[in-house]
């Protein structure tokens, strides 16, 4: 499903000519199979988000290869990369990243609108997804009227509604209290086992990483296999 090989990335900061180079990823190799939950653990600043951003196509790596579904994605144009994301990825962000001017329903509907589906088709899909994540009650609420956990459910519904094969989550519970965190993690596990969805979860939290089938640790720009514990 996902095949990352010898991925390297270095940031340059400071003025041109006297910039300081910060190697963040030093030859990452990772394979994720379909239906797997993979967690990437690491301290803050270890380069987890950078890895995910490259995988998502938000930025291009310095060198190395990223293949998703057999397609090399590291060198796509901006437009092709957007089209690829729309078809293959769902995103779950730490800050939920909902549109404040749209209701929960409309937020979930957004990717389908971008895809060009008619409002009739959208209604069916969105309602089904809202049911799956347990949001039917608050469909007409705006994000500001929802709790953190509800907002993250909206965000998950939005990520799933286009039925993408891969879900990318950057600190999905980073803004939630521990009780709500458990709720969301259970939802992720349920979606994985019932729908066979592939998850790549990035986190600094061991607890979160425990839902994964496999764990990796990012340290000093290198990825190491972490000890696998049994899921909760």
């Amino acid at each position: 499903m996902i095949n990352i090989k010898n991925l390297e990335h270095t940031f340059a900061i400071g003025k041109k000519g006297e910039e300081r180079r910060i190697p963040v990823l030093k030859g990452i190799t990772l394979e994720v199979k379909q239906g797997e939950i993979v967690a990437i653990l690491g301290k803050s600043g270890s380069g987890k988000s950078t890895l995910l951003n490259i995988l998502a196509g938000f930025m291009a790596p310095e060198s190395g290869s990223v293949k998703v579904n057999g397609q090399e994605t590291s060198a796509l144009t901006e437009a092709d990369s957007a089209a690829f994301r729309l078809a293959n990825f769902g995103f779950i962000f730490q800050n939920f990243q909902l549109m404040p001017g749209l209701t929960a329903f409309e937020n979930v509907e957004l990717p389908l609108k971008i895809k060009g589906l008619s409002s009739g088709e959208r209604k069916v899909l969105v309602e089904e997804m809202m049911r799956k994540v347990g949001l039917t009650e608050v469909a007409e609420h705006y994000p500001s009227e929802l709790s953190g956990g509800q907002q993250q459910r909206v965000s998950i519904a939005r990520a799933l509604v286009t039925n993408p094969p891969v879900l990318l989550a950057d600190e999905p519970t980073g803004s939630l209290d521990s009780e709500t965190e458990q709720e969301i993690l259970q939802l992720i596990q349920a979606l994985n086992s019932t729908l066979g969805l592939t998850f790549v979860i990035i986190t600094h939290d061991e607890e979160v990483a425990n839902v994964a089938h496999r764990q990796y640790r990012l340290h000093d720009g290198e990825l190491m296999k972490g000890e696998k514990r049994h899921a909760v």
Partner: protein, 423 residues
């Protein structure tokens, strides 16, 4: 994204910033309305003057006052040559009589304006009658529409000096015989009278303030008048008539090539059209400056919109929206501001134009007084559909151009940076 959803999307955004969007639309509207109203004055004046030219004369008439190179009179043979120019319907030679002319029927009398002409040729030239027929005999004449009104009794004449009165000869003039008394302007000759019968009455002149008290006589009378009164031979004015307005230009050219001075509607309108086209272009240009000023507002509004929505744009792009779509949504928003502003401006401009056309003549008339303003008939402002099209293209075009850079900026937003923004 379906077009309907794109429109919805824009509407939602515009609603969220109602005040800012409304004021920007207001500015765009004022710019466009200024452009339309300003240019409409050019169109109005052009129409006023064109109408004036077309109303006061026959549009197919080409006057030929003289030759260019010599003082010689135009000879009958040369007139005949003019008749052979393609599309010439008729060539009429008219002359006046150098005498005061008074028509009399019984106790009624009035001053009239005798015109000597070839009535057969006049008929071909399209002299239109409201009543009766063209003369068949030399003693028969055609009279102007207001001929009957000019014939007053002495009492009526006194009364008409005190107040306006609708008097004059009542009933049909056709078949009426009248005396035409001619008193020469110069010389010792005694006044003399001739008897004529009215065969036809001309149509009413185009403008209601014009009065036609003419009498068209066969030109064979010139010799008889000259013999009795010693009026001499009046110089003839020559008019060439085309078979339609489109051939006026070609005939005018042919006459000029033959060495004649030519005066026709196309000549007159030609130089006028050039002047007014330049005037209108100038006014549109000045108006466009107002539109450009308004466009600064659109630029600001759109730039602010892009800045404010950076995070949302980032989310859209992250989810998989094409950069093209993002650009299109912002361009559509600035176009919407332009379109709404222009729509309101067009309606407003028509209202202002109507108001101006109603109000300005009233003001001018009241300052000129009753007498001078008679026949005052002018279009202050005219908005033809072409002006609406031009102004709309300029306003909406400028709105889109000013939205271009902000829209580009929106597409260039970096997803990672945008998502990092605080909520």
């Amino acid at each position: 994204m379906q077009f309907k959803d794109q429109v919805d999307f824009i509407r939602q955004h515009m609603k969220r910033n109602k005040l800012r969007v409304t004021t920007t639309i207001l500015a765009a509207m004022m710019g466009c309305a200024f452009l339309i109203v300003l240019a409409s004055v050019g169109f109005g004046l052009h129409k006023t003057i064109t109408d004036d030219v077309l109303d006061n004369r026959k549009v197919t008439e080409i006057e030929v006052p003289s030759k260019v190179e010599s003082e010689e009179k135009i000879t009958p043979a040369e007139v005949q040559t003019m008749r052979n120019i393609p599309h010439v319907e008729a060539v009429v030679e008219r002359s006046g009589v150098a005498a005061e002319a008074m028509a009399k029927i019984g106790a009624r009398s009035g001053y009239v304006n005798p015109i000597l002409s070839d009535l057969k040729e006049e008929q071909k030239a399209g002299l239109a009658l409201s009543e009766g027929a063209m003369p068949k005999k030399a003693e028969e004449v055609v009279v102007g529409y207001h001929f009957a009104k000019a014939l007053l009794t002495d009492e009526e004449r006194e009364a008409s000096e005190e107040q306006q009165s609708e008097n004059g000869f009542a009933g049909s003039l056709i078949g009426q015989t009248f005396e035409l008394e001619l008193t020469p302007y110069e010389g010792e000759a005694e006044p003399a009278s001739w008897s004529f019968t009215v065969a036809g009455v001309l149509e009413e002149p185009a403008k209601d303030w014009m009065s036609d008290g003419s009498v068209y006589l066969d030109d064979s009378w010139a010799a008889a008048f000259n013999e009795k009164l010693g009026t001499g031979e009046e110089s003839k004015s020559i008019s060439v008539y085309a078979d339609g307005l489109p051939s006026v230009g070609a005939i005018s050219e042919a006459l000029k090539d033959d060495g004649y001075y030519v005066y026709s509607v196309t000549e007159e309108l030609g130089s006028m059209n050039m002047f007014f086209t330049a005037l209108k272009a100038g006014l549109i240009f000045v108006g466009t400056i107002a539109v450009l000023i308004a466009s600064i507002g659109i630029f600001n509004t759109m730039t602010m919109a892009v800045t404010e929505r950076t995070r949302e744009i980032g989310v859209m792009k992250a989810i998989g929206a094409q950069p093209k779509l993002v650009q299109k949504l912002f361009l559509m928003e600035s176009a919407a501001i332009g379109i709404i502003g222009t729509g309101i401006a067009v309606v407003l401009s028509y209202a202002i134009s109507m108001l101006a056309n109603w109000l300005v003549p009233i003001i001018i008339k009241s300052s000129l007084g009753e007498q001078d303003s008679e026949g005052f008939d002018m279009v202050i402002s005219l908005i033809p559909w072409q002006l609406v099209v031009i102004a709309s293209i300029i306003s909406i075009g400028v709105a889109m151009v000013s939205g271009w850079r902000p829209a580009r900026k929106a597409t260039q937003i970096d997803v990672i940076q945008a998502l990092r923004q605080e909520l």
